[in-house]
């Protein structure tokens, strides 16, 4: 592991910024182009993970553990979101027999 950590010497913070924003943009494209509710939720997970990695990178750079604690909280939040979201998806599928996000327009009054 020390060998892997020493690999990190010499990677600019800017490259982490570019990499994480690329992953975030891929998540946004997934939300915009897919119709399956579950895949849209997975794209949201992708976006959350991009932000997590960037927080960890800044935390390592500034030698401040607070950033990694934030990542921990985001993970707890993502777990709660997935549990409630998948329960809602199961209910919607049971009632409409489809996972199309457009069927959720019925939720309007």
């Amino acid at each position: 592991m020390d060998n892997m950590v020493s690999q990190l010497q010499g990677i600019p913070l800017q490259h982490y910024l570019i990499f994480c924003s690329t992953i975030f943009a891929i998540g946004v494209i997934g939300v915009l182009t897919r119709r399956n509710v579950i895949i849209i939720m997975m794209s949201i997970e992708l976006m959350l993970n991009a932000v997590n990695l960037l927080l960890a990178a800044f935390s390592a750079h500034h030698a401040d553990p607070a950033g990694q604690v934030f990542v921990f909280f985001i993970m707890a939040l993502a777990a709660a979101e997935v549990a409630v979201g998948l329960a809602i998806v199961i209910m919607v599928y049971r009632n409409t027999k489809s996972l199309d996000i457009d069927s959720l327009t019925k939720l309007r009054f």
């Binding site: 913070l13 490259h15 993502a78 549990a83 199309d100």
Partner: protein, 169 residues
């Protein structure tokens, strides 16, 4: 140093496969591989606690939950709803615009060569625990309430209702 670029490349490839593959089950599996590459990133950042938590919580719990729901609903390629090509093109263009905005903003940043140096063992469980149970004790307790609320909500939502049962047998 080049190892980072290799893993970053793999992350981007697998996340692209996640959103562009047609079969939802393959999509989940590609997302699991993407999260594995993120775990490797955490190890390289010397954030060992986060690497373990990412491995257990994301790959072990959340992705298995996704896969379980996909199998439960018996989804495959045939039931996949498709958007019109126009919406796909527009969505891709919008995402690329967002990325271009980000990159332009980063270019405007001051361009000094900030190198990440993983000094001190801040990512170890011991140090993170001290911060978590000292400075962040109240948010930690509140997150336990959040998880409890989510658990109760999920059980109440997914419970079989009698009216629905009559309609669909």
């Amino acid at each position: 140093m080049s190892f980072f670029y290799l893993v970053a490349f793999l992350s981007v490839i697998f996340s692209l496969m996640t959103i562009f593959t047609k079969n939802p089950v393959h999509s989940v599996l590609y997302l699991v591989i993407t999260f594995f590459t993120f775990t490797v990133h955490y190890i390289m950042l010397n954030a060992q606690f986060l690497a373990v938590v990412n491995f257990i919580v994301y790959m072990g719990a959340i992705m298995v939950l996704f896969l379980f729901v996909l199998m439960l609903l018996n989804l495959n390629k045939d039931t996949e709803p498709m958007k019109s090509p126009l919406v796909k093109v527009m969505g891709t263009i919008a995402g690329m615009c967002l990325l271009a905005t980000f990159l332009g903003a980063f270019r405007a940043l001051e361009h000094n060569d900030i190198l990440i140096t993983p000094h001190e063992n801040i990512g170890l469980v011991e140090n993170l625990g001290k911060v978590l149970f000292g400075e962040f004790l109240l948010p930690f307790e509140l997150s336990s309430i959040l998880l409890l609320t989510a658990m109760v909500g999920a059980v109440l939502l997914a419970k079989h209702e009698k009216g629905v049962k009559k309609q669909h047998g």
